[in-house]
């Protein structure tokens, strides 16, 4: 019997050893090291870090793009309710049992599956000054001058938000669809026997039972909106006042090689994400629920 216990511990070490080591190096260590790095000036060539106190944070607070980035991620949150509302509608629409519905589901999911690079490139050509959208609007006589969808500093961020919205709909549609299909059919049958109309079924049964899915989707889409990067990188390269926090972190580290300032921005951004996660948990009361 003792040898069996030995076997168990042997398996524990063997199976968990490497995974925990990798998690340690690439997930836990960066949490501590990242904070430390934000107080240093990092020399790329020598690989040495010199303690500079709050210098990086001071530099960041003087950078006007930092404030643009903060504003932009807040603006980006507008996408969340829109994306949730329309993806629920979509999920209800494609949850009907009618011929060919699977084909439509697949089509609606195409923007998700093709990935952000392709989606952003395609939309870049639509939004360009001489792109499809301006071209169509000009020829229809709806506008006289081409609109600078991606280079006007008031407009560009909203164009990027639209792409995020368009790309995300199918993703959340599938999650809501899974949620809808988890609702047992006898609940609906019971409601129909009791004489409920389709409006009552929607508001009294479907939506309340979809609540756990909604909470899940709200949390992940809030975090995704705050963390947006690819659309910005590919549509505008962060120009025209479209820099987001992730773009700023990337730009400081890998374009300007100021690792310390980038780390400082990461620390601040992590706090922002933490605050929103706490708000989400408190607001939706997810903390107490067993998941």
């Amino acid at each position: 019997m003792k040898s069996r216990k030995m076997q168990v511990y042997f398996i524990v070490f063997l199976f968990l050893g490497i995974p925990l080591l990798l998690l340690g190096i690439f997930t836990y260590y960066p949490i501590i090291r990242g904070v430390f790095l934000s107080f240093t000036k990092y020399n790329m060539l020598l690989g040495t870090a010199k303690w500079v106190g709050f210098e990086n944070y001071k530099a960041l607070f003087k950078d006007k793009y930092f404030y643009t980035a903060l504003q932009n991620i807040m603006k980006y949150l507008i996408v969340v309710p829109f994306i949730q509302f329309f993806s629920i509608l979509l999920a209800i629409l494609v949850n009907q049992k009618i011929p060919g519905i699977k084909f439509f589901r697949t089509l609606f999911y195409v923007p998700v599956i093709t990935g952000s690079v392709i989606v952003s490139m395609a939309w870049k050509w639509i939004f360009n000054v001489d792109g499809l959208l301006n071209y169509t609007l000009l020829n229809l006589g709806l506008i006289k001058e081409p609109i600078l969808w991606l280079t006007d500093s008031h407009l560009a961020i909203y164009s990027a938000m639209f792409v995020t919205f368009w790309r995300g709909l199918g993703y959340y549609m599938v999650i809501y669809l899974a949620g809808l299909q988890n609702i047992p059919s006898d609940v609906y049958e019971a409601a129909k026997i009791d004489g409920a109309n389709s409006k009552q079924i929607l508001f009294k049964i479907t939506l309340p039972l979809l609540r756990p899915t909604m909470l899940f989707c709200f949390i992940i889409s809030t975090l995704a909106a705050l963390k947006v990067f690819e659309e910005i990188y590919l549509l505008t390269q962060g120009a025209s006042g479209t820099a987001t926090m992730m773009y700023l972190i990337y730009d400081y580290a890998f374009v300007r090689y100021k690792f310390g300032i980038s780390a400082a921005a990461s620390v601040i951004f992590s706090f922002i994400l933490l605050i929103f996660t706490i708000i989400n948990f408190k607001f939706f009361g997810l903390g107490g629920e067993k998941r």
């Binding site: 168990v8 524990v12 949490i31 999911y109 195409v110 690079v117 395609a122 999650i175 990337y250 933490l274």
Partner: protein, 275 residues
């Protein structure tokens, strides 16, 4: 009267579905259409959705001017390495967490879940430095290693191991199986369907990954297709007929893959959200 209303509802539903299908696919249709156009007129009014004189010269140009085949090979290597790592490590790590009794099990599991609650962004820079120090900069392994173990993967596999009835394992033990045999002959075969779901999620994640490979790779002959494409969009800006052809070439494999695996996507979420 009722039948008539039903028919109207049917027709309306399909009109909405078709309109939405166009809304979600028109940028791609435009890209596909452009990729077959000649140099003379990309813009005509009304826009030509089906080119009058279709040509495949853009596709030939793609292979001549851009190392497309190389990009595909790179993506293939990165994606397969990543999927294999993720599936193996998650299947192994989740087993003792779900099925074995040992001291500190709950503590280890809580520690593993902890980073899910702390949205830490420092990883981008620190992991970059770590990869350089490990001598993995500009290698495929450097692209894959930081995400070789995912918390999501361990969590998903653990849920599936938990659903195995304990009687099965106990019966095997009574029949004289040692602990390894219990895992290899009983438990693992029972969760194998879940590994394919995990593999598919991992595949799409690696296929579409962009920021990390962009940072860790510096020689273009190591670029996966997504990074290669993105570089294209800046260097071939004026000539988007060629870039369109490249996009179509990248899009087709992933769409074919999705077509054959789509049921896993909905099924996968069904498990993930509710549990």
């Amino acid at each position: 009267m009722r039948k008539k209303r039903k028919i109207i509802k049917y027709v309306l539903t399909y009109i909405i579905l078709i309109a939405l299908a166009l809304f979600f696919t028109f940028p791609f249709l435009w890209v596909i259409s452009t990729s077959f156009k000649g140099p003379e007129n990309i813009f005509t009014w009304p826009p030509e959705w089906i080119p009058k004189k279709p040509t495949i010269e853009n596709y030939i140009a793609v292979f001549k001017k851009i190392p497309m085949a190389k990009y595909f090979l790179n993506t293939l290597i990165i994606t397969s390495l990543g999927v294999i790592f993720q599936v193996i490590f998650a299947s192994l790590a989740a087993y003792p967490l779900a099925r074995l009794n040992w001291k500190g099990k709950n503590l280890v599991f809580k520690l593993i879940l902890l980073p899910m609650l702390i949205p830490m962004q420092g990883a981008l820079i620190v992991n970059f430095i770590t990869i350089i120090k490990l001598g993995l900069y500009n290698t495929y392994l450097g692209v894959v290693l930081p995400s070789a173990v995912t918390i999501f993967g361990i969590f998903l596999m653990r849920q599936h191991y938990l659903s195995i009835p304990a009687e099965l394992e106990d019966a095997a033990r009574i029949d004289g199986c040692n602990e390894f045999q219990v895992f290899w002959k009983i438990s693992f075969p029972l969760v194998r369907p879940a590994t394919s779901a995990l593999a598919i999620f991992a595949f799409t994640a690696y296929w579409n990954s962009f920021l990390w490979p962009l940072i860790v790779l510096n020689s273009p002959d190591k670029y996966p297709v997504q990074v290669g494409l993105a570089q294209l969009s800046s260097s071939f800006e004026p000539n988007f007929r060629i870039a369109s052809a490249a996009i179509v070439l990248v899009m087709v494999p992933i769409l074919v893959f999705f077509y054959f695996t789509q049921r896993f996507f909905i099924e996968g979420y069904k498990g993930a959200v509710v549990k």
